[in-house]
Amino acid sequence: MLDFDYSFLAEVLVGGLLSGVMYSLVAIGFVLIYKTSGVLNFAQGAMLLFAALTFVSLVERGAPFALALLITFAIMVALGMAIERVVLRPLVNKPPITLFMATLGLSYVIEGAAQLAWGTQVHGLDLGIDDTPFEVAGILISKFDLFAAAVAATMVAFLTAFFRYTRIGLAFRAVADDQFAAFAVGLKLPRIWATVWAAAGAVALVAGLLWGARLGVQFSLSLVVLKALPVLVLGGFDSILGAIVAGLLIGATEKLAEVYIGPFFGGGIESWFAYLVALAFLLVRPAGLFGQKIVERA
């Protein structure tokens, strides 16, 4: 063990944690929807692609950055509300698998619509944040990763304050706790669902811009949902804090596994290793780290 390179271990760990933040950004969009409506929105990745593609296409057509952001935000809010109104409201009270299949179909529709509207070309996206590294105690840290972490922290702080201190936020929590009770006390469920879908659209925009700047704006953006799924299993489908903590855990675990265990299996293990961790955790704690434990009476 004398030769063990601890600074390299630290570098892998820090890199993994920062990668995990990017996963959390996607997972938060899932959590928002699941928390209030019990729907696992598989179309979140497609929404992310749609947001990034719309933004970059507007910029390339000469729209100033702020205006493009504003227009895309408006489009994503409208898209979220339209999905709730046209696809999900008619399916209220249907089994969860029906709702899940609806969002699965929706993801294909949104992906197709995005390519139809904006074309199939690959685009670069420059947010003006350098992806160059700087060194702290021999460890390279990317400025862009720190920026993404700051954005994620801001978003979590904003959402936490929103859920805790605003009237509509409290209504969200009431709906999340018990939809029937919330309806019985006069909360307008359709309006709340529409608002939360709009919020998920906005979260997709933020995640889409950050992932788009990292990968380029292209079809593969919609595949980042695959990175969010183990995060959701680990953190719980209805906990924003869980999404953040689990993102960090998954990011760090998969990178450490790739570097230290991967060579024994020929490498390339990180994608399934994250799922292995999530699966193992599921067996021990089915609701995830911070997920709500549902107790049902027989």
Binding site: G16, S19, G112, D131, P133, D145
Partner: protein, 461 residues
């Protein structure tokens, strides 16, 4: 007496048939009558290309460029020359989204069309799924710059043509380029090269050849897998940073490429010491990486740019007539577009060569196969085709289906690719015995008796 060809071929774009109510009415009348044998004027001779293209889905950017270039060249030959010796070139597109099952479905739909010249799916997976089928059909399958390396051996694979460059030649070409940068093959001794490869059969195909070349030239090689799709590579690049290699070879695909370049920048690896393979060499691979890609070098079989005479003719004749296939004119001369044009040249010239033997008429697939096996385009002929500098030359024979294509290297300057090397020859003599061994194993496994030169000279009509 002939039958009117079936009208509702499902892969044809419906838009062109259903423009207005009047069109619908006319179509309905034709539809009622289409089953009735009627006298029809003799059709002009045609040679048909079934195009299993992908214009939507994750790889649409490559598909639109390649098939756009291919169609642009076919259109040029039709408009400028009236076809190949009077034989009109026709085609249909069937959308695969780069998925194997859809590709096979397209094959099943399109194979019944008469006068098929060759299949060009531009997909390793689809090509693999078609090998046995096209051997039965006796129709060529073109896998330009990709496909099974051992299909180079035409004795065992009579109908498969990995034209210009197979994966082993690509590997040799890249090592020869790195050797050139270091001052010669003998200077490779003691160097360290990392190969970062896509976690797929395509990515893994060259693993034994890098090992072989490392042994031969005395460098150490470390091969690191990136799981599909490759949108996260922090662990791999930190490992590379620890290993401190002299060069990294990027054997990527799709989103893996820009992410590799960005993560290299993030972990402090110099981009001009990364050499991309032939599927990591397009604008789509570097533009998303922004400034991280500036200085990146990649192998290619065809130069990019629109300054070549054949490109100028396409712009003038095809796009001038409003028949250009690319929606975005800025993509004319891009890597995939030019690859499509070169692919068009090779297909058309194979037909032309076969016509000189079998007559200026519609050819069978087997006759076109003969044409491909005599596809010899030297630098003079390439220049006459308006492609001097676009690609070097090709010399396909009955047992060498790759055709000794040369490679060159291009560097991304932040806005466009610039050629930075001469045309380089891979070490074919070294690779051929390995290819023959692999092909022999395939033949034994599939009960194939290798052809002879005499077998190859005949073609069924």
């Amino acid at each position: 007496m002939t039958m009117i060809p079936f009208l509702f071929a499902p892969w044809r774009p419906a838009v062109s048939y259903f423009g207005s109510l009047r069109t619908i009415a006319r179509t309905a009348v034709l539809a009622i009558s289409f089953a009735i044998p009627i006298a029809a004027p003799a059709k002009a001779a045609e040679q048909y290309f079934p195009l299993q293209s992908y214009r939507v889905g994750p790889y649409a950017a490559g598909g639109t460029g390649f098939f756009g270039g291919f169609i642009d060249y076919l259109n040029l030959v039709n408009i400028r020359d009236g076809g190949v010796n009077g034989v009109k070139l026709t085609w249909d597109e069937c959308e695969t989204q780069y998925e194997v099952e859809r590709g096979v479905e397209c094959y099943e739909r399109q194979k019944s069309h008469p006068a098929i010249a060759a299949w060009n799916p531009l997909s390793v997976g689809i090509a693999y799924a078609m090998i046995d089928r096209i051997a039965q059909d006796k129709t060529p399958l073109i896998t330009i710059n990709h496909g099974r390396t051992d299909s180079t051996d035409g004795r065992v694979f009579p109908y498969v043509f990995p034209l210009l460059l197979n994966p082993y030649s690509e590997t040799s070409g890249i090592i020869n380029y790195i050797a050139g940068k270091e001052g010669g093959l003998d200077k490779l001794r003691g160097k360290k090269i990392v190969v970062l490869y896509h976690g797929s059969p395509y990515g893994k195909e060259t693993i034994p050849i890098y090992e072989l070349l490392a042994q031969k030239y005395g460098f150490t090689v470390s091969q690191i897998e990136v799981p599909h799709p490759g949108n996260e590579q922090q662990a791999q690049w930190l490992t590379i940073r620890r290993e401190k290699p002299d060069f990294v070879v990027l054997r990527g695909w799709g989103v893996m490429n820009p992410v590799a370049l960005k993560t290299a920048q993030k972990t402090g690896f110099p981009v001009d010491h990364i050499v991309g393979n032939v599927w990591s060499n397009s604008e789509e691979d570097v533009i998303p990486a922004g400034s991280a890609a500036k200085g990146y070098v990649a192998i290619t079989t065809q130069a990019s740019g629109a300054e070549y005479p054949v490109l100028q003719e396409i712009i003038k004749t095809v796009y001038g007539a409003g028949k250009g296939n690319l929606d975005d004119k800025k993509r004319i001369g891009s890597v995939y577009h030019n690859l499509g044009i070169v692919n068009g040249i090779l297909n058309v010239e194979a037909i032309r060569i076969a016509q000189e033997k079998f007559g200026h008429r519609t050819l069978t697939g087997d006759e076109v196969r003969w044409g491909f096996e005599h596809l010899r385009l030297d630098e003079v002929r390439v220049a006459a085709l308006g492609a001097k500098g676009l690609f070097h030359s090709i010399n396909v024979t009955w047992d060498n289906h790759e055709g000794d294509g040369r490679v060159t290297f291009q560097q991304w300057d932040g806005a466009k690719w610039k050629v930075v090397s001469d045309w380089i020859s891979p070490d074919w003599a070294l690779l051929r015995p390995i290819i023959e061994k692999s092909a022999a194993a395939y033949a034994a496994e599939h009960g194939i008796t290798p052809r002879t030169a005499a077998d190859a000279e005949t073609a069924s009509r």
